[in-house]
Symmetry: C3
Subunit: 205 residues, 3 copies
Amino acid sequence: MDVPELLDLAGIFVFAVSGGLTAVRQRLDMVGMVVLAEITALGGGIVRDLVIGAVPPTAFTSVGYVLVPVAAAVLVFFWHPQVSRILPTVLLFDAAGLGLFCATGTAKALDFGLSPLHAVLLGVITAVGGGMLRDVLSGLIPSVLYDRQLYALPALLGAALVAVADVTGWHGPGVTAGAALLAFVLRVSAMRYGWRTPRPRGVRD
Amino acid sequence: MDVPELLDLAGIFVFAVSGGLTAVRQRLDMVGMVVLAEITALGGGIVRDLVIGAVPPTAFTSVGYVLVPVAAAVLVFFWHPQVSRILPTVLLFDAAGLGLFCATGTAKALDFGLSPLHAVLLGVITAVGGGMLRDVLSGLIPSVLYDRQLYALPALLGAALVAVADVTGWHGPGVTAGAALLAFVLRVSAMRYGWRTPRPRGVRD
Amino acid sequence: MDVPELLDLAGIFVFAVSGGLTAVRQRLDMVGMVVLAEITALGGGIVRDLVIGAVPPTAFTSVGYVLVPVAAAVLVFFWHPQVSRILPTVLLFDAAGLGLFCATGTAKALDFGLSPLHAVLLGVITAVGGGMLRDVLSGLIPSVLYDRQLYALPALLGAALVAVADVTGWHGPGVTAGAALLAFVLRVSAMRYGWRTPRPRGVRD
């Protein structure tokens, strides 16, 4: 297994954990946990693969992609934090998945010949897609549309780093991992320090 | 028309009825009924076909797939139960669709060369996908995430039966129909007897 | 740039405005506005392109498709109506997008060889898809399922006009533009005059 695939599986794992934790928070049972874990982990990647023409999507050709979320759900089943204090953990694992997927998603799109602009768009979609599905299915407004802190922007910057590096001839797993770390740190910092982008005039908190 | 296609159309019909009934329950008009019927009936199959590379999806090459949900909506328009007592009927038709689609979906994925594991995953997706779309669009939390009774598990077992039979060389419409029946009976029994899978510790009802 | 592409970009622009305005109404920030604008503008077309086998979807090969929604979001950021009076403007721009996309979506499906029936289905999906995504992600029930006025029906009639014209050998951007105008006028009239399709018996307002 090479580094890009390892990073992708890491992203699948952490997103699956965020899905499993959200299921606990919504008081779902074991099956609901597995379902939410799978959807959060694989949703964004499936859309990306369909768009770039990678059919069947990797989720349907790799055994690991299907089983890692199950393992994550099992782990969450036994070791989840107290229900009332789950949200910060969800947000942390979600940030990790955001970082990993914006990098690996952009890299894969570039490999399939998409332009840098579109590869970045796809990297962002892969990164935020799973979380959006998880939130909508749980009856929540997706984090990506919350106005309390940055969400899509860290993903955009991580994806842009991968694309810019590729354009300047600088490739490799180191770039992908570095971009993932950048996006993760930006997202966690935004949550920690309350960073926000401007609101339209006349829109109060 | 052969048996698998007949079973698929039966699944489309019953899911369309569940969509039409949900529309009545939400007090929608004729158009809303047809829209919800079409989405519930065709949603899961369209996703499955895109994933296995069957493009255009059967919904876009077969006239029956498009018109059967319209017929179902018309039937529901004239013969629906009293609004306050619709939910049990929705659940019954939804269970029938779940059973039929988890079997036909898995069979089709196997025909397209997916591994048994991935064919089962796809069968479950086809089975629960339409109901999830119906519920989310109506502002409800999808049944698949309710913790009150099994939903994805009967679909998983029906799909697994088709895949295991295929691996052991046992094919045919009889297997598909049998698996559909198994999933349907399991789902109805789970609702009737309140079967549930375990919840994580610390999560009360 | 030819007329069909111009009409499509016009549809993207107006749908993006409706998405940006909805974001303001939900009190989102700049990033949320861009995300909602992009999803509303491109969502329906991406699904349509995947279904007809146009991979990658035009959204991922054209720079304009990606940047026009950003421009729309910026315009909305600076020139949006007062928050409490945004909804009528959202509905107006949404009606324009509905009209444009039901026409261009059907035309594109016909170009790709789908039958008139299925091209119409796809035109309707392209037209209502973006708005559905916008509404669901904002925690709203999609307009297409509101029972207060027609939504999918104007789209269906516009799409049908394009398909019927094509079958009778009458092609061209004039037909597409005319169908778009028809659908738009029908939708606006339905809102203005409270047109509605029948409800099932026993369903009160």
